[in-house]
């Protein structure tokens, strides 16, 4: 960041008195890519907030069906949460490994991240399958509609994340730690951590509030 006094061309810009920060020119690619991806994540969070809002509106509309406290399994959800939080840690390890170009630690931490993500997905799938089998599917009531959509939307994101994770591993395997691959890795890591943050919100709003603990 170049700091220059404007005295040199103050005549060209009468508004500027004193010290201003001259804009140095276009940002490097690494920053532009990550910045754009941040903006995408913000827009994704706006989308999630719509599903959160819908859940908040419809949570009481059980249409004589079950309430949240009657169907949630706190034990399962606790394991899910632990898996996802741990996977965020291992994803951070993978980022560091990529930064120092250590293939072994990169593959190892990405694999662990993948396994933890898959365990999360299996547990969520079992929860959904179990509810549907008991007749408490999403079309049972507006509350269940909102519940399945909100949690399922997060699950879809995790699935996409796992697909992306595997593609990233294949990319590093085939191309090595090239600059563009590292940029993508940064985006993937941002995505995975953002999913974690959203899960914390899901966990609090849906499961903690819902099971009335």
């Amino acid at each position: 960041m170049a700091m220059t006094a404007t005295a040199g061309h103050a005549h060209a810009d009468p508004h500027h008195i004193g010290l201003v920060i001259e804009h140095p020119g276009p940002a490097p690619k690494r920053i532009v890519t990550a910045y754009g991806f941040w903006i995408f994540l913000l827009s994704d969070i706006v989308m999630f907030s719509c599903f959160f809002a819908a859940y908040a509106v419809l949570v009481g509309q059980t249409a004589d069906g079950p309430k949240g406290s009657e169907i949630f399994e706190p034990r399962y959800v606790a394991i899910e949460t632990v898996c996802l939080l741990l996977s965020s840690f291992t994803c951070g390890m993978a980022s560091i490994a990529a930064d120092v170009r250590n293939r072994f630690w990169f593959y190892l931490s990405m694999s662990v991240t993948c396994v933890l993500g898959l365990i999360f997905l299996v547990l969520e799938f079992r929860e959904f399958a179990d509810l549907i089998a008991r007749g408490y599917g999403p079309s049972r009531s507006a509350f269940l509609t909102a519940f399945f959509s909100l949690v399922g939307c997060h699950g879809l994101h995790v699935s996409a994340g796992v697909l992306w994770l595997l593609t990233m591993m294949a990319q590093v395997f085939a191309k090595g730690f090239r600059a563009d691959i590292l940029r993508r890795m940064t985006c993937f890591a941002l995505f995975w951590h953002a999913l974690d943050i959203i899960w914390v919100a899901v966990f609090s709003v849906v499961y903690l509030l819902g099971s009335g603990v």
Binding site: D13, H15, E22, H23, G25, S43, M47, C50, A54, R140
Partner: protein, 666 residues
């Protein structure tokens, strides 16, 4: 195998859509045959379809918008004729068909005319005004455009295969739920908007990042041209609002496809939630459209008055104020649905407050003109016509923002007149002003002024003759979306409105003639200087059309009105005396990713509409594979050698020396 699709989807019993669809199909096939026979296919593929150049993509956006303007316009003509003849009779359109027409008209005009038009102009001009070589994500830009085209294509397919929604342009439930709209119309609506909405979001992310992170040296925020500011505001709104549309449509689709209960009447669904969500997107959407138009008027008014924009900083503040407040007024769309007097009052006041920054803008434009040397070129005519028209639209808007008045006027033709007043008088006039103003920059020759002025006057007159009567019938109690009516007092006004529509159509024809005539006379209209209007911002500092790399050297900006300053400086000193050595320039390589991805998205969208599940999977896999293939490329960029850059740039400099030596005499 083919889901719900069978021969009954083709409306053999309805001549109008069948003939229209047939004509369009024949026209498309003829153009394709001509392209192939003449051997233009490689050129089209290499230079346009796979192009990731922001200028080319911008031009294609505007082309898409223009074609869809003709489609949406013919819907409008049909509606005006229907309402003129449907007094105590059924008119010439069956109710089913009429309902599809007004739904398609609204959907097309907002999503596939206004949106691509402004996004196209922003794409074309913003990187040039910022003094940079491209947008932040060039390939993503191409993907965004082609997904928008997919949406437009799906809407047009619905003309011949199946039907379009009969629900109005926002598909309110419960009418849009499966129980009341069992056909594929709402599915066409939802999937085409869902797919093109992704494209719009991508464009929004791209342009926000471009404005915030890619500016040439010295281009501080308060030195950016107004159009860049309004682009930033508009695209921030896109990023914040379009995900709401995505979520809302997803909920509606889940209701329709999987029996969910977001908005249904039974099992606890909540229809009012749809109203809230759709307008939380829909109200900012209006400002997404009109803010770029405000930016265009700022550029045009300042250039053709020969003065710097009056109150630049208050203009920036007003733009950002509108950007924020536009998110706080959505509830004025359902004052009458029982939110209560306190809520209504708050949202009424918030709606009126938006008029304050808008008023600031109008005064700033007037003061920019005051004391200036005004040239009444075509873009300036559109700008002045806008100011007159938009003030009327703004005032009726403030009227509608008064809840008690809204109880009388909502859902009436008064409302229809109001929003056409602001959308046509604001957005469309802005789009036309930008089109006339930047056409020489995009293509290297000016447009014919005589036909341009004729187009303006016919459109301007036609607009008033069409829409002022709608205010009157609105006050006389006529509601919107009527297929036929029995009130004698409305009849004369509907006939006047139909005549106005005819005048408007002449305006459109003039504009088409203008383009044809200008292309024929392009040698005489050639712009060699790159600066035909004596412009003030950086897009005029490069040649017309600009080279693929935009600028041989990234310009160094020292104040507002960057190019104006450079010209002033150059009159005293020799132009570019202290140029550094030319260097190699790296540019992103072309890529078919966008086109191929949109191809699969079209297949997937069509399959989803008709419940052809194997095809959905095929389309999804195809789109994913396209991205993986793209990610596997080894060389993203190609190099333009310094010698070639120098050769291209020297031609531009020679032409420009002539301009600078003449500039003192004008």
């Amino acid at each position: 195998m083919l889901g719900k699709l069978d021969w009954s989807a083709i409306p053999f019993d309805q001549p109008i859509p069948l003939v229209a669809g047939g004509v369009v199909l024949v026209a498309i096939l003829a153009v394709l045959a001509w392209v192939v026979v003449k051997g233009h296919l490689p050129y089209l593929w290499n230079e346009w379809i796979t192009s990731v150049d922001h200028k080319r993509i911008g031009v294609m956006y505007v082309l898409l918008a223009s074609v869809m303007l003709l489609r949406g316009g013919s819907d409008a003509i049909m509606m005006r004729i229907q309402q003129a003849v449907a007094y105590q009779s059924q008119g010439y359109l069956p109710p089913e068909h009429y309902n599809q027409i007004f739904s398609a008209h609204g959907t097309i005009m907002i999503f596939f005319v206004a949106m691509p038009f402004v996004i196209g102009l922003m794409n074309l001009i913003v990187p040039l005004q910022l003094g940079v070589r491209d947008v932040a994500f060039p390939t993503l830009n191409s993907v965004g455009f082609w997904l928008t085209a997919t949406g437009a294509l799906l809407v047009n397919i619905s003309l011949v295969v199946g039907e379009f929604a009969r629900t109005g342009w926002l598909a309110f439930p419960p009418l849009s739920e499966l129980s009341y709209s069992p056909g594929v119309g709402v599915d066409y609506y939802a999937w085409s908007l869902q797919i093109s909405g992704v494209g719009t979001l991508v464009a929004g992310i791209n342009l926000v990042t471009t404005v915030l992170k890619l500016r040439t040296k010295g281009m501080n925020y308060l030195r950016m041209p107004m159009f860049c500011w309004t682009t930033l505001a508009s695209n921030l709104l896109i990023v914040a609002a379009f995900p709401i549309l995505t979520a809302t449509l997803a909920m509606l689709l889940l209701d329709r496809y999987l029996g969910f209960h977001f908005f249904t009447n039974e099992a606890g669904g909540n229809v009012m939630m749809f109203m809230n969500l759709i307008w939380a997107w829909g109200h900012p959407e209006v400002y997404i459209l009109v803010l770029p138009a405000f930016g265009i008027f700022s550029e045009v008014v300042s250039t053709f008055s020969g003065k710097a924009l009056f109150g630049y900083r208050s203009m920036v503040l007003a733009t950002m104020a509108i950007c924020v407040i536009s998110f706080m007024v959505w509830l004025h769309h359902f004052f009458t649905m029982g939110a209560g007097p306190n809520v209504n009052a708050i949202f009424g006041i918030a709606s009126m407050i938006i008029a304050v920054p808008t008023g600031v803008k109008i005064y700033n434009w007037l003061f920019t003109m005051y004391g200036g040397r005004i040239r009444f070129a075509t873009p300036m005519l559109w700008a002045i016509g806008f100011m007159v028209t938009f003030i009327i639209g703004g005032l009726t808007g403030v009227l509608l923002a008064v809840p008690p008045a809204d109880f009388i006027l909502h859902n009436s033709m008064f409302l229809v007149a109001h929003f056409h007043n602001v959308i046509i008088g604001g957005v469309l006039f802005g789009a036309f002003a930008g089109f006339e103003y930047w056409f020489p920059k995009a293509f290297g020759f000016r447009l014919d002024e005589r036909w341009g002025k004729a187009a303006f006057w016919f459109t301007f007159t036609g607009f008033f003759v069409t829409f002022m009567p709608l205010y009157i019938v609105g006050l006389l109690g006529m509601t919107r979306r009527m297929q036929h009516y029995d009130v004698a007092a409305w009849r004369p006004w509907m006939i006047v409105a139909a005549i106005g529509m005819a005048v408007l159509t002449i305006g459109v024809i003039c504009q088409i003639v203008q383009i044809v005539v200008s292309v024929r006379n392009r040698e005489a209209l050639r712009d060699r200087t790159g600066d035909p209007w004596d412009g003030r911002s950086l897009e005029w500092a490069t040649s017309s059309p600009p080279p693929v790399f935009n600028f041989a050297f990234n310009p160094d900006v020292r104040g507002e009105d960057a190019y104006w300053d450079m010209k002033a400086k150059a009159r005293n000193e020799a132009l570019a005396a202290d140029r550094p050595e030319y260097q190699d320039i790296e540019m992103p390589r072309n890529s078919p990713t966008g086109f191929v991805c949109a191809f699969f998205a079209t297949i997937m969208g069509f399959a989803l509409i008709w419940h052809i599940w194997w095809m959905v999977i095929l389309g999804g896999l195809g789109a994913w594979a396209t991205f993986v293939l793209f990610a596997w490329r080894d060389h993203d960029e190609y190099v333009i050698p310094a010698a070639e850059v120098a050769a291209i740039d020297r031609v531009n400099l020679e032409e420009r020396r002539g301009l600078v030596s003449m500039a003192g005499t004008v």
